[in-house]
């Protein structure tokens, strides 16, 4: 057995693609497909839109690969293209975009409309238990809070807040990298995340389990990089 050949880096795959290797970009896509899918799906909150956005993004990246200058990681560059494609898609379909004012009555109305098959808040049907931490209430009819899992709650956020929260809190990217992806300042990323968390608080805090309690800080001292 000879020595194992190390897998090519993302940058190497992109370089090969630009040089004409027709398989290289496909490998790059496959390597990161789940994470890119998560970004698209959670930013658009719609599997069809996510698929369209991701396809557009990958074709765009395929074509623009030679413009990649290496100023950031290849994944950062890819995520930026995916986020932009997802937000573009949402902008092209404003009727399917959800933004909740914060008024509980308005939310109740939206939910009621959804249960009648209305278009405004089609809560995705998650896999059993998906998005719920252990100990979460079992009966989804108990209250507004318990009717919302993570995916549904995210739909209540303005798009920019949602994109920031998805990248920082859900996917764990550092604020500095998210600032590059979203092409905004780090302060803006932190602000969007903070406002998004505050807005989601009534709907998600009840889902916290043991880990949530442990993670909760006793004071309001600034958080770490996830900020």
């Amino acid at each position: 057995m000879g020595p194992e050949v190390p897998e090519p880096s993302d940058a190497e795959l992109l370089r090969r693609h630009v040089a004409g290797d027709t398989a290289a970009f496909g490998l790059l896509f496959k390597r990161h497909k789940d994470r890119l899918w998560a970004v698209a799906l959670r930013t658009t909150c719609d599997p069809d839109d996510a698929a369209d956005a991701l396809q557009e993004a990958m074709i765009s990246a395929f074509r623009r690969a030679k413009d990649f200058r290496g100023d950031s990681a290849v994944t950062t560059w890819l995520h930026r293209i995916v986020v932009n494609a997802s937000l573009d898609r949402l902008r092209r379909r404003p009727a399917r975009s959800i933004s909740w004012s914060g008024d509980p009555d308005a939310l109740e109305s939206m939910l009621a409309q959804d249960t009648r098959g209305g278009p405004s808040l089609a809560v995705p049907s998650p896999r059993a238990g998906a998005g719920l931490l252990p100990g979460a209430p079992a009966d989804p009819a108990d209250s507004v809070e318990t009717r919302l899992d993570v995916a549904a709650a995210l739909r209540l956020l303005p798009e920019q807040q949602r994109a920031a929260l998805v990248l920082v809190d859900m996917l764990g990217y550092p604020v500095a990298e998210v600032a590059v992806i979203l092409a905004v300042s780090e302060g803006t990323v932190k602000s969007r995340c903070a406002r998004g968390r505050a807005r989601l608080l009534p709907f998600l805090a009840h889902l916290r389990g043991e880990s949530g309690n442990q993670a909760a800080a006793d004071t309001v001292s600034p958080e770490g990089g996830g900020g």
């Binding site: 040089a19 004409g20 990958m58 074509r63 602000s191 406002r195 909760a216």
Partner: protein, 302 residues
């Protein structure tokens, strides 16, 4: 400190995010330390982050992956086709003899070495995987492959007879609309061959048929092959007297200035579309197809 004033959740979240500094931050911290309600809110804000981080990451559905891989394969195919028909002027000048004739046959009409050729989806020239695809070795093998695939013997013979003209600046659309009678390649005897050497104006002689076929993704290649076989046996019903300049430009753009073997005004998944085919590939485009925006719906190898 715990009297009437309580910070709202946003203020607490911003403070947790490090967006509040100095005296205000210290004041908030002191308040939370002495107010059970605000301490609870503060805990819940932290829990939101935990809940979001704990949500399982969705795996990409196989159907989505397949769809995107197919789209990328189409892109790669289109880029490869561009490489087959594109060449730099320097390489043209350096070519001699039969090789020069082959290279000339591979040049896109327009005389700019293909740099102005627009790709489906709006990109111009070789904005995809880069001009390094056009290295001489690649071009040499591409030339050979193209000649084999697209009736190169005819092309060489034809080019040797000296049929070039000097109207290199003519646009594909304009030339395509000029009619077919004067084309030395007009007629069914040369399907799939290149229309003209690079220094000649292209002449698009093709008939738009209306087969009435509803093409489907799963059977697209088979259906196109069937239409090609039918058209070889008998003339398919024509959809229009002559293709519009817009359609001609679109077709020539997609085929790399080659004569299409099939341009069928039909439906694709029940929606009006044109199905365009050369020897080894077929495209489905929208009815508003233009050279700059082919409205590419699908592409398949034959």
């Amino acid at each position: 400190m715990t009297g009437q004033w309580h910070p709202d959740a946003t203020a607490l979240a911003e403070c947790r995010a490090g967006l509040t500094g100095g005296r205000r931050a210290r004041r908030l911290a002191a308040h939370v330390a002495s107010c059970a309600d605000c301490a609870s809110v503060n805990d819940q804000i932290a829990a939101v982050t935990t809940v979001l981080a704990s949500a399982p990451e969705p795996a990409m559905p196989d159907a989505v992956e397949s769809r995107i891989m197919a789209a990328l394969a189409t892109e790669a195919s289109l880029a490869t086709e561009a490489a087959l028909v594109t060449e730099t002027p320097h390489e043209t000048e350096a070519a001699h003899g039969t090789a020069a004739k082959r290279d000339t046959a591979l040049r896109p009409v327009g005389g700019d070495g293909g740099r102005s050729r627009r790709r489906p989806g709006g990109r111009s020239g070789r904005s995809g995987p880069g001009n390094r695809w056009l290295r001489p070795a690649v071009l040499a093998s591409a030339a050979a492959a193209c000649l084999v695939l697209f009736g190169g013997v005819y092309g060489i013979t034809h080019l040797s007879s000296g049929s070039s003209s000097s109207s290199a600046a003519s646009s594909a659309a304009g030339s395509a609309a000029a009619g077919s009678e004067s084309s030395p390649l007009a007629g069914p005897q040369a399907p799939g061959t290149r229309l003209e050497p690079a220094d000649s104006a292209p002449v698009a002689a093709f008939t738009v048929t209306a087969s009435g076929t509803n093409y489907l993704p799963a059977t697209l290649a088979l259906q196109v092959r069937a239409q090609l076989a039918r058209s070889a046996r008998t003339a398919l019903p024509a959809a229009e007297a002559a293709p519009s300049a817009q359609l001609s430009a679109c077709v020539l753009h997609l085929t790399g200035q080659m004569r299409p073997r099939l341009v069928d005004r039909a439906t694709y998944q029940g929606k009006p579309a044109y199905v365009i085919a050369v020897t080894n590939r077929a495209w489905v485009v929208g009815t508003g197809c233009t050279a700059s925006n082919p409205e590419l719906i699908a592409s398949v190898g034959l």
